[in-house]
């Protein structure tokens, strides 16, 4: 077993109102970042775990996302990185 650090991005699903993202976008516009079209605010979760190989570390964290870390009704997740420690 090798230790891995797996990072996950979790974002509100497109089409679902994200009031935090909208508030941040409004604030960016107020700061003259007029080109900002959309902001979504989500979570970044870093899990350290052990697995036989990189693929299985990623598979395990996907399973964690489906069962706990993300809500399949309202959120999308993606594996941002998998690194051996």
């Amino acid at each position: 077993m090798t230790p891995y650090r797996v990072a996950v991005h979790i974002l509100p699903r497109r089409g679902i109102l994200d009031p935090q993202g909208k508030a941040v976008a409004d604030a960016l516009h107020a700061l003259s970042f007029g080109d900002v079209r959309d902001v979504r605010v989500g979570r970044h979760i870093v899990v350290e775990t052990s697995a036989p190989d990189e693929a299985s570390a990623e598979r395990t964290v996907r399973d964690m996302c489906e069962r706990l870390l993300a809500n399949p009704v309202t959120e999308d997740f993606s594996i941002a990185s998998v690194e051996a420690l």
């Binding site: 509100p12 109102l17 009031p19 870390l69 809500n71």
Partner: protein
């Protein structure tokens, strides 16, 4: 009738629920600790409001894995009644007992105020003592009460009469202004397909004393009794 009221770490409406059941309704209630493995003979389970596990990750996301929830889910699968209020509603959705999810209020503000609800379906074990279309005055107190589900799920809820309460204005109209949290279609409370699990963001247990401004929550508890003794 025996009500089992679950206390999670961070629950804060368990005493209000106990007061509603024991003092206002005159029935028996027991507290069920989240680490318990049995329902201690409860006929109905209340998942009360609060901030279980500090709302970490998502409201209700951690509480659904409490040991007691395994028993609550089994109870619901047997057709046993579950009343899930506020944080309890969030937990019930996370546990898959009810469809949809509850997200941050559209205003991003925690809202604590009385709201008006319209009773949409009186043919449930939780609402049979109300009149269809009756307007209730019941408080809300939440930061994450924006009910959300896929459009086809929402259509099914509407079609099957599972939408039980809707936020409305004084005239009884479900307007955007009367929607405190941005819930889809002004939905404030729903029941499961079998009708034995009810989830609602407003607090009926805080509306059982005239002294506290409203007794509109009491018929909800009386409905449960009426159905059981019927």
């Amino acid at each position: 009738m025996k009500f089992g009221i679950v206390t999670f770490p961070g629950s804060n409406c368990d005493y209000d629920a106990y007061h509603a059941v024991v003092d206002a309704l005159g029935e028996e209630a027991v507290y069920l600790w989240h680490k318990d493995h049995d329902l201690r003979g409860a006929d109905l389970v209340v998942l009360p409001g609060g901030f279980s596990y500090g709302d970490y990750l998502r409201a209700g996301a951690i509480a659904r894995f409490s040991p007691i929830m395994r028993e609550v889910i089994a109870h619901a699968e047997r057709g046993g009644p579950v009343l899930a209020i506020c944080n309890g509603f969030q937990i019930a959705c996370e546990a898959g007992l009810l469809p949809g999810a509850l997200l941050r209020n559209a205003s991003l503000c925690f809202i604590c105020e009385p709201v008006r609800l319209r009773v949409e379906n009186t043919d449930t074990m939780f609402t049979n003592q109300y009149r269809r279309g009756q307007i209730l005055r019941i408080p809300i107190a939440h930061g994450e009460g924006r009910f959300t589900a896929d459009p086809d799920v929402l259509d099914r809820l509407e079609g099957e009469g599972q939408v039980v309460f809707r936020y409305v204005n004084e005239a009884g109209a479900a307007t955007a202004e009367a929607n405190p949290n941005g819930s889809e279609r002004n939905i404030a409370g729903i029941v499961s397909p079998r009708g034995n699990v009810m989830g609602m963001m407003p607090h009926p247990e805080r509306a059982v004393d005239a002294l506290l401004g409203s007794t509109d929550g009491l018929p909800l508890f009386e409905s449960i009794l009426a159905r059981v003794s019927a």
